[in-house]
């Protein structure tokens, strides 16, 4: 077999559905082994073909566990592509399956082009001749569609950002090239390692920022920041516990139990949340006032999502109304808890206060309504109304993979510069960064470097 190893998500994605990350190629088993922690440390390369294994996907760089998975191991040639194939079955929904895909891409797989698994199946003689035409049509169609999707994404801020970053690099490249090709030309400053380092560090920061603000980037790393607010004793800590499926926060019938801010990471139907249970609110204190203090306001301001809890068993108070005021314009889900108690709350007024927001009723005690709540969170996210960061984000897996490659290349450039490697060699990694970024926006034409050279500098005899 002569092909590199490719990977892609191979099931249509929907919430809750099991999604599969499929790898095919010589390195498939080796890559899988690098990220898979099975029972008793078993190696997938060693297990019999066509078997399924339970375990976890762990990022070897950070030792964080990304996902609980079932992995199918299929040795070529008895596979769809006739190559070694690994299928990682993920349960955790869109975000975590993407996370697993990103990880295997960082571990050396390349993201599959549209139709590439089928193409390999064909090239390796798995599909018969009559299907060849169909394969070609499919490649064309899928590529065109992928292109148009990618183009759509490229229109906006991201493409501008990538372009300006590339221009930044291009100018360094051109300057180095001028120093090389026209060593006697006295008009250009000699590019030094420290200048290169400075610029590379800037570029690196920008790439990292892009990755962080990326949908999977920021959200995966930090979770959607989700703040639970509500009057004392309404069941905030109970809510946190029930979303985490563990008793993380102390729950008592004493109002004002929670004293410290509690943060928990939880994956709700594939949406990672950083849950914040607001804290230390004493009975005597006015909540809104409390929230008014610097720190709490900051927590609220940075929140991507607010879970506002009301008590079904009590009438709405002025405090409740002021809470609604405080979260105006934010993404809020209103939870009316303790439906097992007899109704004191005015549901009409609650619904009215909750205009523009989802309203869910729960009894955390009886474990009712939690499904609906999870549903509400997930749909809010997948509908795209929840957004992390400033709105410039990369969601396309190919782009994220390329950004990671670009980051690796720029890191090598910086490393090289730190070690005192000659400028023209550091240039090699810088150029790779530039080319990789170019792939994101579909522009790798090397002529542009030469164009830059001659437009920026006055050269010649």
């Amino acid at each position: 077999m002569e092909f590199d190893t490719i990977a892609a998500i191979s099931t249509p994605m929907g919430e809750g559905a099991i999604a599969i990350v499929r790898l095919s190629g010589d390195e498939a088993f080796a890559i899988a082994d690098r990220v898979f922690k099975g029972m008793g440390g078993k190696q997938l390369q060693a297990v019999p073909s066509h078997t399924i294994h339970y375990g976890h996907i762990v990022d070897p760089a950070t030792q964080t566990t990304l996902e609980e998975v079932m992995v199918s191991v299929m040795k070529g040639p008895k596979t769809f592509t006739r190559e070694d194939v690994i299928e990682i079955n993920c349960h955790g929904g869109l975000v975590s399956v993407n996370q697993v895909l990103q990880l295997v891409l960082r571990q050396g797989a390349r993201i599959a082009e549209p139709g590439e698994f089928t193409k390999r199946a064909f090239l390796n003689g798995r599909i018969d001749l009559s299907q060849a035409e169909a394969v070609m049509d499919m490649i064309r169609a899928k590529t065109d569609r992928a292109m148009s999707v990618a183009m759509g994404q490229m229109e906006g801020k991201l493409s501008k950002l990538v372009q300006s970053l590339r221009q930044e690099i291009l100018e360094i490249l051109a300057q180095v090239e001028v120093n090389i090709d026209y060593p006697e030309y006295d008009d250009v400053e000699e590019m030094t390692l420290s200048m290169m380092m400075e610029k590379s560090t800037y570029v690196k920061g920008q790439i990292e920022r892009l990755l962080q603000t990326s949908e999977q980037g920021k959200i995966l790393r930090e979770g959607l920041s989700t703040v639970i607010i509500g009057r004392p004793n309404v069941g905030k800590s109970s809510l946190l516990n029930s979303l985490v499926h563990e008793n993380k926060a102390i729950v008592t019938d004493v109002p004002g139990t929670t004293r410290d801010v509690i943060e928990e990471y939880v994956n709700v139907r594939g949406v990672p949340l950083k849950l914040v249970d607001t804290a230390g609110i004493r009975e005597t204190e006015d909540i809104v006032e409390r929230i008014g203090v610097e720190r709490s306001r900051k927590v609220l301001k940075e929140a991507d999502l607010i879970l506002l809890v009301l008590n079904y068993g009590e009438a709405l108070s002025e405090e409740d109304r002021r809470l609604f005021e405080a979260v105006k314009g934010m993404d809020v889900i209103v939870i009316v808890n303790k439906t097992d108690l007899s109704q004191k709350v005015d549901m009409d007024e609650a619904a009215q206060l909750a205009t523009h927001h989802r309203l869910v009723t729960t009894s955390l005690l009886k474990e009712q309504g939690v499904d609906e709540l999870e549903e509400a969170i997930a749909s809010l996210f997948f509908a795209g109304s929840l957004e992390a960061g400033d709105g410039t984000y990369v969601s396309n897996n190919r782009h994220i993979a390329l950004l990671h490659q670009a980051l690796a290349a720029i890191n090598e450039a910086i490393e090289g510069a730190e070690m005192g490697t000659p400028v023209d060699m550091v240039q090699i990694d810088l150029r790779r960064t530039w080319e990789t970024l170019g792939e994101i926006i579909g522009d790798t034409v090397q002529e542009s470097l030469i164009d830059q050279l001659f437009s920026q500098f006055c050269l010649g005899k």
Binding site: D424, M425, G460
Partner: protein, 631 residues
């Protein structure tokens, strides 16, 4: 029309004895082909119509490559230069490059003598007007006098002569470079054969009399004190070097140019050909970069036995009187007497995508073209192509397999691949940035890359090859040694490390690992753990580079591996692109024109995108399977 007569038959005919022609002729002859070289004027063999210099970044590496392959340029310049300098010594080894200032006349003389002494070459003065084409194959040429020469293969290296027109101010006349006879019949003939032709333009600065230059107002630019040579064969070095000089234009110069722009043929629209961006005329520079207060001017002697000085930086086609005014405005040149004026020249070049990577034309079998006729510019670019065309034409004459250098083998490979795959819309010049594997394509390792190829072609002598083999062994031996010898932290070592600001050893360290430290050179290592016997300088240099930059070299090699895989996927001859559904129409057109030999080459064509390549791969595979199952 003159009466035609049979004048002899040969293996290879080379039309032209410029820089491409001489390498082509010498290579073919040295490979054993009975070779005829025809040129318009025998006094102008290997003439340098522009700057008196050979080498420089990228180009200098080409000269080394030519030498490793058994070509002539390096050997001749080593004997005939007036100064040499190694450029970019402050940078990494990949971009170091040698440049020589040539004694133009001596260079020509040595080249001509070399050709005359080559027993397989017949050198003749003749103007070729026509090719003999039979059944789509070129079988010879016919000269203006009716002489008919026949050969198995023919190489045209007509430079800037094809329908050449010299332009100077509002003067325009039919001429080759330096007022030589232009080549009009052959140009018309090539058009009539149906070749796509472009019109390119280039220019040259005035020459002034050295005795009228006030050098005290300029800066001296001496050669290196270390002996330098292009050729691996050179053993004698020229020590008596002549300096060049540096001066600058100024506001006054620019004002003169501005005021006379209306008299420039560039701006009056008289020049229609496309000029190269990398050697703009001074009027171009002043217009395009009008905020620059001054431009560098290098004064370069044209030789030891002449007073002519080449004014580098002042290429122009402004009228002669304006040229003199410009000169007068420049410090040191106030009283300079202009001996020849600068001029621009327009000429025909063939669109190089009409060539196979062997430089054979696709249209006419056994016909090759090389040099400026293929849209390039520069002596080294011409020589490199000439050599490869000469090799391939001789191989064809002997029914041997073709030889194509890859982009990862040589700058020559990059050059030819760029030409035949992408074409060019201005005179093409090599730049280091054109080579994606430039770390592998270094000045120092040209022999390691190419000597085997030269040897296989029969262009490298036994003696030279033995020397090379033993060099290789010494390099490998020394690298092995450094990888195994452990340097212990004794006092001698620690003092030495301290003296160069390198951190002290805590433990024993392999020689190779110590050498990897940026501040450590092979000389330091040598002082600590000397080799059994003193190694030649070029061996030490290789050891140092190969160990020090191993990581980077390794990375490049991995990229090359990928390239090779794609290169090995050959596209069958006569593939019918129209029969492949799904390829986009722009890509289809390009593929049909370029007719790439491999998937690697196909993927470098602009306008052919990855989806087209995928489809092509599937199709080729289908063809392969079809053939297998049909058997």
């Amino acid at each position: 029309m003159v009466k035609k007569f049979e004048a002899g038959s040969f293996d290879v005919i080379v039309v032209g004895a410029g820089h491409a022609g001489v390498e082509a002729g010498l290579a073919a002859a040295r490979m054993g082909a009975k070779t005829l070289m025809l040129t318009i004027n025998l006094d102008m063999v290997a003439f340098m119509p522009c700057n008196p210099s050979v080498g420089g970044p990228a180009k200098g590496i080409v000269v080394r490559e030519i030498d490793a392959l058994g070509g002539q340029m390096g050997r001749t310049i080593d004997k005939t230069h007036i100064q040499m300098r190694m450029l970019n010594t402050g940078k990494g080894p990949a971009v170091r490059a040698l440049r020589a200032q040539a004694d133009k006349v001596l260079y020509q003389q040595d080249m001509k003598e070399t050709i005359e002494n080559e027993p397989n070459i017949t050198l003749l003065q003749a103007m070729v007007e026509e090719l003999i084409i039979e059944d789509g194959e070129c079988t010879g040429v016919i000269s203006k006098t009716g002489a008919t020469y026949r050969a198995k293969t023919t190489i045209i290296t007509a430079g800037t002569f094809l329908r050449g027109e010299v332009i100077l101010g509002d003067l325009k006349y039919s001429s080759g470079p330096n007022n030589q006879q232009p080549s009009i019949g052959l140009a018309d003939h090539l058009r009539s054969l149906g070749f796509d032709i472009v019109r390119f333009k280039t220019g040259t600065p005035p020459r002034v009399n050295s005795q009228t230059i006030d050098y005290s107002k300029t800066e001296i630019q001496p050669g290196d004190d270390v002996p330098r040579a292009f050729s691996y064969e050179t053993t004698e070095y020229i020590t008596d070097q002549l300096p060049c000089w540096l001066t600058y234009t100024n506001e006054e110069t620019h004002t003169i140019i501005d005021e006379n722009l209306h008299r420039s043929p560039m701006y009056s629209g008289m020049i229609k050909g496309t000029g190269p961006r990398y050697c703009p005329s001074i009027e171009d520079k002043v217009v395009r970069f009008n905020d620059k207060p001054r431009h560098q001017i290098f004064l370069e002697p044209e030789g030891r036995n002449t007073k002519e000085v080449y004014v580098q930086g002042l290429s122009t086609s402004l009228p002669e009187d304006v040229q003199q005014q410009i000169l007068t405005s420049i410090p040191g040149l106030e009283n300079a007497q202009m001996m020849r004026s600068g001029y621009a020249i327009e000429y025909d070049a063939i669109v190089p995508t009409q060539l196979w990577p062997t430089l054979e034309t696709k249209k006419i079998k056994n016909l090759y073209t090389a040099g400026q006729i293929n849209g390039t510019s520069g002596y080294e670019e011409a020589a490199g192509q000439g050599l490869m065309a000469g090799i391939n034409a001789a191989r064809r004459a002997f029914n041997k397999e073709e030889v194509i250098l890859s982009r990862s083998d040589a700058y020559i490979g990059v050059l030819i691949d760029d030409l035949v795959t992408k074409g060019t819309n201005e005179p093409y010049r090599l730049l280091t940035s054109r080579a994606e594997y430039r770390l592998l394509l270094r000045h120092d390792n040209a022999d390691l890359r190419l000597k085997d190829v030269g040897r296989e072609m029969g262009l490298v002598s036994d003696e030279s090859f033995e020397k090379f083999v033993s060099k290789k062994e010494m390099i490998q031996g020394e690298i092995k040694r450094l990888q195994s010898v452990i340097i212990k932290p004794n006092e001698h070592v620690q003092t030495l490390l301290e003296s160069i600001g390198s951190s002290l050893l805590k433990d024993g360290i392999k020689g190779s690992d110590l050498l990897r430290r940026p501040e450590i050179t092979y000389n330091h290592i040598k002082a600590i753990i000397p080799a059994d016997s003193e190694l030649p300088f070029d061996v030490e240099e290789q050891v140092e580079i190969q160990i020090k930059y191993e990581g980077y070299i390794e990375k490049s090699l991995q990229q090359v591996d990928k390239l090779k895989k794609m290169e090995n996927k050959k596209i069958p001859d006569g593939i019918d692109y129209d029969a492949i559904s799904g390829i986009a129409s722009e890509a289809r057109q390009k593929l049909r024109d370029v007719r790439p030999l491999s998937i690697a080459q196909a993927s470098r064509i602009s306008g052919v995108n990855p989806a087209d390549i995928s489809i092509l791969l599937v199709y080729i595979e289908q063809g392969r399977i079809a053939k297998v199952s049909g058997e």
